[in-house]
């Protein structure tokens, strides 16, 4: 193995990156893959009990609501009614992983990689392998 480069999660709570252009469609694709329901431009109660507008309202398999708000800088933030809910936090992790996967696949296709193989590993990681001839 040669160089190993680590990239921060493209969709993270602390270091948000712009969710512009195809970003939202990559996110909603990932949410659908998890069989979560989602609706655009809705309202929900946040952890302070206030009703807030969200750009994307997600409902996980436990029926919990998770909001995604794109702030004025174009960055995505997650909003929860119960910030201590283990299942809601686990859902956010899964959404992040799916978004990262979709982002990677999209960018690989953009730069011209065609034979893209992917698999889910036993440790929960998703592995994507591409080959190139020079």
């Amino acid at each position: 193995m040669s160089t190993c480069i680590t990239v921060s999660p493209p969709l993270s709570g602390a270091d948000c990156v712009p969710l512009i252009g195809v970003g939202m469609s990559l996110l909603t694709s990932g949410i659908c893959e998890l069989n979560y329901a989602c609706e655009l431009n809705q309202q929900m109660k946040n952890c302070e009990g206030k009703i807030v507008a969200v750009d994307l309202l997600i409902k996980n398999l436990q029926g919990e609501q998770i909001g995604v708000k794109v702030n004025k800088n174009g960055n995505a933030e997650f909003i929860l009614e119960d910030v201590k809910s283990v299942s809601a936090l686990e859902s956010i992790k899964q959404i992040r992983q799916r978004y990262s996967k979709n982002k990677v696949l999209y960018e690989l296709q953009q730069v011209g990689y065609k034979n893209i193989k992917q698999e889910k590993l036993s440790n929960g990681n998703i592995r994507i392998v591409v080959e190139k001839w020079e």
Binding site: T3, Q110, G124, K132, W133
Partner: protein, 67 residues
């Protein structure tokens, strides 16, 4: 026929992405995969492994010179 190399991307349950190249020797590995990594998101860390410090394939080097 040219040289074949692989780019291996592994995404952990938190969404962090690790990108590794296999089959590219020398500093060329970084120039090949770094632009791709920048498309994925902000780069957190770069680790050079054994293959990085190996000399580039002489055939590849000569090919570049001829061009």
């Amino acid at each position: 026929m040219g040289v074949k190399y692989q780019v291996i991307v592994e995404i952990d349950p938190e969404g962090e992405i690790k990108v590794t190249s296999k089959g590219i020797k020398g500093s060329k590995c970084i120039s090949e995969i770094k632009p791709l990594c920048e498309r994925f998101g902000p780069i957190k860390d770069v680790q050079k492994t054994k293959e990085y410090y190996e000399k580039e394939d002489l055939k590849q080097k000569n090919k570049q010179k001829i061009k």
